[in-house]
């Protein structure tokens, strides 16, 4: 069973958002389940701070040895910081997806809604790990 913290919100594309320090800011990464399915992550291509994305828009790509996936923005916003540490050590996505393996810090657009996101229970049932 993969780790699905109750305190986070999820997309059906396997990204999560976690509350960050700044006002209206969140950290975005991929779930423990997603990293397990991908296998050893070898490269994460991230946007530039200042780039803006709509909800559901691709903000980057993640490469494992034999798979590559788009990363989708869970909620509309502006990138205020990227996790530079992933460049040197992309394996952080595997070892600590919810912590050191975060990808972008996003300032949520005023008026953007989090309604479409999933709770931990809903995400667990999406990946068939409920009950």
């Amino acid at each position: 069973m993969s780790d699905i913290p109750d305190s986070l919100q999820y997309t059906d594309e396997h990204e999560y958002i976690r509350e960050a320090d700044g006002e209206n800011e969140v950290l975005v990464g991929i779930t423990d389940y997603a990293q397990g399915e991908l296998g050893d992550v070898v490269f994460v291509e991230l946007p530039q701070p200042g780039d803006r994305f709509a909800a559901g828009e691709a903000f980057g790509t993640i490469e494992a040895v034999k798979a590559v996936s788009e990363l989708y923005c869970p909620v509309a916003g502006e990138v205020v910081e990227i996790n530079e540490g992933l460049d040197a050590d992309p394996a952080l996505v595997n070892s600590d997806p919810y912590g050191e393996g975060w990808m972008i810090r996003l300032r949520i657009d005023p008026g953007a809604t989090l309604d479409g996101l999933l709770t931990a229970d809903q995400y667990a049932s999406l990946i068939g790990e409920d009950g």
Partner: protein, 962 residues
């Protein structure tokens, strides 16, 4: 019964593995009475060919060699000093015999199974190191198809890397080779890139410099000038564009390297590093670039990693760039490389070392300088002062025509330019007496004056101005210093060879790859000098043997595929796809329907299909497949109708990538035609059809043919390949042309390869294959492939789930074993099974294509019943091992599958701390006691290598510390 007094069936018996008696027994296991019955249960009735192919009777091997000799005699290999990226070379005998003519090297497949490919991976790493050192750029790939397409790939890479930029102009120096300019133009057209040809001094242009994303120059130029491109590089970089340099590797041993004057990409041909010209190929092109572009490089890259014990091990790196993963978002459609030829070029550098290469280059340059001095003495003008091995001469006396005519009478080809000047390009085969002959051609009265070219070359002035001289060292790695004696070289080549599993060890059952016999008689003529030393742009009347061969082969291929015309130009299957789509687009344009740009591609298609469609300027619309891998005809119909106004084509593989003859194929082709599109048939699986059914008969308009699959060209460890296309009468006018040869249709699309007939010399192999098998044998080969696959599927179906069969429960020429159910109970993956097969002495089948978590087996007709049984036994034995894991008899983690492959070193270590025995690990089957193939490394850590890309030979300490 008729006695085969003419030996028409002699070769068929050698080519097809099972004997007559075996075949009867195998039919019994499959459960049919005859081959004919099996064929009728496999191939849909509606497409079965109702007549024998219009091919000649087969001929014996002896007769084939006689015929090849006749063709060889019709070729006249002169001394060709034409240049244009192709040069005479002296292939060291130790490389010719032990690599180019050695099945231990040429029968290997692309090194997907790294653990049993370490030999050629090391040889390719040497090649990459040569390219990296000589170009002065830090990243190189393991070869591309030819220099012209490498230049086009460079353009495309810069184009794709523009990011949000809307720059659309690529500048090409007018002093590039004409075939390179033509291929680059062709590649630019569908992408709406504007090609601006002109003098590099004008690049990137004043007014609209910001619309230029890159520029291509030749170094030295096609007419021999060594130019200083440093300020060009600065100008391009200042305006945000990149510089591509097409550079001659031999010249780079003396001249300042592209990396030092600001090139972002260097490309070129490595042919003159010991690879025969072969009337156009095959040879390996190189591609080198900066760190910035490492994730955008087209083609395969060999990288250094470690194995399960932490020992150094090599494998293909950064595979996520490739089409089988990225599909329409891939960096390129290239998958076939020119591995065998890249290995030869790398070995040439290993054998000569840096001093040897420099000496070769200096000798050529000295002879060129002596020639220049002699020509000046004769009153001619040598146009460029700074040159390496190529001169452009403005005749001071006599006309260019007279000079070229005189040269011809002396057995020499010189290059005519449009403006009345003459070109001479020398190479390592040239001797002082050849220089005297060239001078004689330039002396209309026969008086070459008092000079002596030999002594001028030995003691005269030569060299290059300061700015042009190379300062940096190269090839300092020990591998380029250790093997300069023939004995050492022989052993080095052999040492690498035996690390790899080739067809001389066991069958290589790679689904969709078709690892059939590459018969010795087919291979023999390829290296004869009458075929090998011909320059691709030599006058047509010197290549009559080749022309006869092309005509016959084109006719045969068209007959077998059911089409009207054929182009032999594309150098790989993917290039064939791209060419076929260009031809389709040209036809639409000609009918005023140039807006047709939608290409339907089934979700089960090979990844090159969508990548090629994008290159041809088309938009990919994916068509669903049902649970059996067959095209969902309902979805196809609705998408064809939805896009009817813009429908250009469908790309369909037949039999499907799942190895099934879809019964709806006629309905599929008709639906596309009804909606204005044409049908591109991916001929990767043509080997299941020859003599039984023909793409042209069931509605295809274009079909490419992988000569390296169906028609016996060996895979060479990942190239050479050939992908000619056959087309209907309607499309024949659009077959690709070439600026330097009369070839293709009257409204032909621009060339797709540097040479007019692609890799001409290996066309001999396919020609020989068809000639020897003949009408009966080619069909028998197809039936044999279907029988072998169905026999194995029948034996294995008791132990594994065989996915996807046709209406009568038959597989085609290949079949898929589903391993996913086993993973749940045992944790064993397809990769574990693949690696465990190495312990049994086998190469794995194709993994996870076209279905994730499965393996696809293609035995081919050439494998005997004995060998098929051996592989079945190995797979069944592994199935039992998996069962033991599932029941707990073997540990879930510490078992022979998870730890596979097992090396001799691991087995002979003082300690053995595993939950199974050494014998279980290394000798799991009886035959391994008789003859054991030892994988040289344990399982390779792919992630480590991709996270830390190293694509040149690592320092020796890396090896010594282990």
């Amino acid at each position: 019964m008729r006695f085969d007094i003419d030996l028409t069936g002699e070769f068929t018996r050698r080519h097809i593995g099972p004997s007559r008696a075996d075949i009867d027994e195998m039919l019994g296991v499959v459960g049919v009475d005859s081959l004919d019955e099996l064929v009728r249960q496999t191939v849909p009735e509606s497409i079965l060919l109702d007549r024998p192919l219009d091919l000649p009777d087969g001929i014996s091997e002896r007769r084939l060699i006689e015929r090849a000799r006749e063709l060889a005699r019709s070729n006249r290999p002169l001394r060709s000093y034409l240049g244009l990226g192709y040069h005479g070379t002296l292939t060291p005998g130790v490389i010719l015999r032990n690599i180019m003519e050695n099945p231990g090297w040429y029968t290997q497949y692309t090194p997907y199974q790294a653990e049993i490919s370490q030999g050629r991976l090391e040889a390719l790493l040497n090649f990459q190191t040569v390219v990296i050192d000589l170009t002065g750029l830090p990243i190189a790939n393991a070869s591309l198809l030819d220099e012209a397409t490498a230049a086009a790939e460079a353009m495309q890479m810069l184009f794709n890397a523009r990011g949000g930029d809307d720059r659309m102009v690529f500048c090409v120096s007018e002093t590039c080779h004409p075939q390179t300019i033509a291929v680059v133009r062709g590649r630019a057209e569908p992408l709406d890139i504007e090609i601006r040809v002109g003098p590099p001094e004008d690049f990137p242009g004043g007014d609209d410099a910001e619309s230029v994303f890159g520029a291509l120059v030749q170094y030295p130029t096609t007419d021999g000038a060594v130019e200083d491109y440093a300020s060009l590089a600065d100008r391009l970089h200042a305006s945000g564009a990149g510089l591509v340099v097409a550079a001659d590797l031999l010249a780079l041993t003396l001249l300042v390297e592209p990396g030092a004057f600001g090139a972002d990409i260097a490309v070129g041909n490595t042919q003159r590093f010991g690879v025969p010209m072969g009337y156009g190929g095959p040879h390996a092109a190189y591609f080198a670039t900066t760190e910035e572009f490492k994730r955008r490089i087209p083609g395969r890259i060999i990288g250094v990693s470690v194995d399960a014990d932490g020992d150094p091990a090599l494998r293909m790196a950064l595979q996520t760039r490739e089409q089988h993963i990225r599909r329409e978002r891939a960096t390129s459609n290239i998958c076939t490389a020119q591995v065998l030829l890249a290995i030869m070029a790398g070995m040439y550098a290993v054998y000569h070392g840096p001093e040897g290469l420099r000496a070769i280059a200096e000798r050529v340059h000295r002879l060129t300088s002596a020639l220049a001095a002699g020509l000046r003495r004769l009153g001619h003008t040598v146009v460029h002062d700074v040159f390496f091995d190529t001169l452009r001469i403005e005749p001071g006396r006599a006309s260019a025509d007279e000079i070229i005519e005189r040269a011809l009478s002396l057995g020499i080809n010189l290059r005519p330019y449009d403006d009345g000047t003459v070109g001479v390009a020398l190479d390592e085969t040239v001797r002082p007496e050849d220089i005297e002959d060239v001078l004689a051609a330039f002396a209309p009265d026969g008086d070459v004056g008092s000079g002596d070219a030999g002594s001028t070359a030995r003691t005269g002035e030569s060299g290059h101005p300061d700015w042009a001289m190379r300062r940096s060292a190269y090839l300092e790695h020990p591998v380029f210093h250790r093997y300069h004696s023939e004995t050492e070289m022989l052993r080095y080549i052999h040492r690498l060879e035996v690390k790899d599993l080739s067809l001389n060890t066991s069958m290589i059952p790679l689904g969709s790859c078709t690892m059939k016999l590459n018969a010795t008689s087919e291979m023999t003529p390829v290296t004869w000098p009458e075929f090998g030393t011909l320059h691709p742009f030599a006058p047509a009347d010197q290549a009559e043997g080749y022309r006869e061969l092309f005509d016959e082969l084109e006719r045969w291929l068209a007959e077998m595929s059911g089409f009207a015309a054929c182009s032999l130009q594309p150098n790989s299957g993917a290039q064939g796809e791209y060419t076929g789509l260009l031809v389709i687009a040209a036809r639409h344009r000609d009918r005023g329907e140039g807006h047709r740009d939608v290409c339907l591609i089934p979700s089960s298609a090979h990844g090159t299909n969508p990548a090629s469609a994008v290159m041809a300027g088309m938009k990919v619309v994916v068509v669903k497949c049902d649970d059996y891998g067959n095209i969902d005809v309902g979805d196809l119909r609705s998408k064809a109708v939805e896009h009817a106004d813009r429908l250009a084509a469908i790309m369909v593989t037949y039999p499907s990538t799942h190895g099934v003859f879809e019964s709806a194929i006629r309905e599929i082709t008709a639906t596309v035609h009804e909606n204005g599109g044409l049908v591109y048939l991916d001929g990767a699986n043509l080997n299941a059809q020859v003599g039984l059914c023909r793409p042209g008969d069931y509605g295809a308009d274009v079909c490419h043919i992988n000569l390296h699959k169906t028609f016996a060209i060996p895979h060479g460890g990942g190239g050479p390949g050939m992908g000619p296309i056959c087309v209907t009468e309607e499309l024949a006018p659009y077959l690709p042309g070439h600026p330097l040869a009369e070839v293709g249709g009257e409204r032909g699309v621009l060339p797709v390869s540097a040479a007019p007939w692609g890799s001409a010399s290996i066309l001999l192999i396919s020609w020989a294959y068809i000639a020897m098998l003949g009408r009966e044998g080619t069909r028998a080969a197809t039936e044999g492939a279907i029988l072998n696959a169905n026999y194995m599927a029948s034996r294995l179906s008791e132990h594994f789930d065989v996915l996807y069969t046709g209406e009568h429960g038959r597989v085609g020429h290949e079949f898929i074993l589903d391993l996913r159910p086993l993973k749940k109970d045992s944790g064993v993956t397809d990769e574990d099974v693949a690696k465990r097969l190495m312990d049994y002495g086998f190469h794995a089948p194709t993994m996870s294509f076209p279905v994730h978590g499965t393996i696809m087996v293609e035995p081919t007709e050439s494998e005997s019943k004995y060998e098929l049984d051996r592989l079945c036994d190995a797979l069944i034995s592994i199935r039992k091992e998996i069962e033991r894991i599932a029941t707990g008899d073997l540990d879930r983690e510490d078992n022979p599958l998870k730890n596979a492959p097992h090396t001799a070193r691991m087995l002979t270590a003082d300690e053995w701390n595993h939950a199974y025995t050494r014998a279980e690990a290394a000798y799991p089957a009886v035959w391994t006691r008789e003859s054991k193939f030892w994988p040289p490394v344990r399982r390779v850590d792919n992630a480590f290598g991709d996270r830390n890309l190293v694509c040149a030979c690592p320092p020796m300490e890396t090896y010594e510390s282990h």
